[in-house]
């Protein structure tokens, strides 16, 4: 992370906007059904290994690549565009 990046990141946390963006992303992922899809993926993994323990790390390793691929482009675009606009307007002040 570069110095500029760090400052932008710190400002986002300080103003609470990071949390706001996170909430927006969370909302979008629920709306488009992503969360339910990922929940199903997790269930499948757990079912596959019905008789052995499932650890968090194992679940994350198995599900993450597929879950990432499932995020709709429209959601990525919206967030990217909004964060960009937001950071640019912050800079001017």
């Amino acid at each position: 992370m570069t110095v500029n990046n760090t400052i932008a990141h710190q400002r986002l946390i300080l103003s609470g906007d990071r949390e706001r963006f996170k909430e927006l992303l969370r909302k979008r992922l629920i709306e488009c059904g992503w969360r339910d899809q990922v929940r199903m993926l997790c269930r499948d993994v757990v079912k596959e290994r019905e008789n052995s323990d499932v650890s968090f790390d194992m679940l994350v390793n198995r599900v993450t690549p597929r879950a990432r691929a499932l995020v709709p482009d429209t959601v990525k675009k919206e967030l990217l565009q909004k964060i960009k606009t937001h950071l640019l307007t912050q800079k001017d002040q």
């Binding site: 946390i13 909430e23 927006l24």
Partner: protein, 487 residues
Amino acid sequence: MNDNGCIHLSNFKAAKGTNPYKIVHAFFVSCTSFEARRYKATSCLCFACGQPGPRMHSCLHCIYFACYAGHIQEHSKSKKHFLYVDLSYGNVYCTQCQDYIYDRELTEIAMSHRLKEAKSLGISAPFMPWLPNTNEALALRRLRKRRLISPHTTIGLRGLQNLGSTCFMNCIVQTLIHTPLLRDYFLGEKHKCKAQGTGKCLVCEVSKLFQEFYSGAKTPLTLHRLLHLIWTHARHLAGYEQQDAHEFFIATLDVLHRHCMNGVEDTEKKENGRCNCIIDQIFTGGLQSDVVCTSCSGVSTTIDPFWDISLDVAGPGSLQACLERFTRAEHLGSAAKIKCSKCRAYRESTKQLTLETLPIVASFHLKRFEHSSQIDRKISAFVSFPAELDMTPFMSSHRRAVDVGVDNNNAPEGIFEDNRYSLFAVVNHLGSLDAGHYTAYVRQMKGSWFKCDDHMITRASLREVLDSEGYLLFYHKTVLEYECDVS
């Protein structure tokens, strides 16, 4: 992942309580104050490698920050500290068990901090799934019968007998029954009535009606009791001739709103001067009117509550165009001078209407009936309306930002706002002014539309709905925000 905690966490809690978790969580996971955000912004870096990730954790024993790429493991080995709080999600990781540990008490602390954080940032509270309380869990165990809702389910659909030109009532009842939030309110049996059993409360009657619609029976219903109640409480609608569905809709909301107050103590009635009955919570919005004096540019602003928006249909070809025209600044002309409080004189002025607050259900009335001293006529002009509508351009805050201009940018305020609406009911008037008939299209669930023509219910396509003429259009807010309920 263990639902029953682990011995290491239990021992830790027995020795030190939940305070260490509370502090770490309130400062570095869900910041409950500005001060906390300052700490989080500047200090969440791995003490070993200086990086902000991956997956930052804090040692619960000594608040040592370390990332998951080996450094919490290192710290655990050298200090024999086993418990770590994930700084993104607030879960507790145990290096002995090598997994995250669920703990009811800590989960509750985390939830209360998340609510406080949402409140301090002025954002909507996080969604919390419904958990049955002891009584509800008991009832669920006792009542074994379950209903599976599939795309082919027709539950909630029932025809309504025409009692002699009562199609104006039938189409409004169908609309109200299929208003998602109203349905949830009544099926949740939220109406507590003092006048219960007297047969005089319209809200109780509607409550019964919901039970009838969702009972699973398929025969058409007869609404004579409802009609009689409305006749007695809205006398101008009494009689056997055809009435205007829009007038009936507004009168029904008014009677419902008045009767909602039956069961409520005076002290609970109003919140910040606004009624908080279910009708007002769902249907009431605020219409802002700005009158600008052309001589001194002084603005006088008033905000009035509204239940629906009546739109002129002559000219524009779409709902958005109608709304655009509705919210445009209008010069009042020399014939309509208004007293300016600043100039202390009657001046020419411009007036602009915008939406200050949006209701959960936005109802639009297309003014298709023209009554004048010379002629009464129906305007059948085509007005297209969308299935999904964004109301942002018609909001007061948006108009202000546009007027101020881009350099003084207020737009980021709107980034987190969500003013999207989805169509869920359309009332149509067929035929002429004196020999007409009302039907309604209702959305039963997402993507599933039905046409309600008195006792006949038939499946309809969205295309058919959007191609219909449209007299009353009903939109429901697409995403509902949750209110923070923390003191």
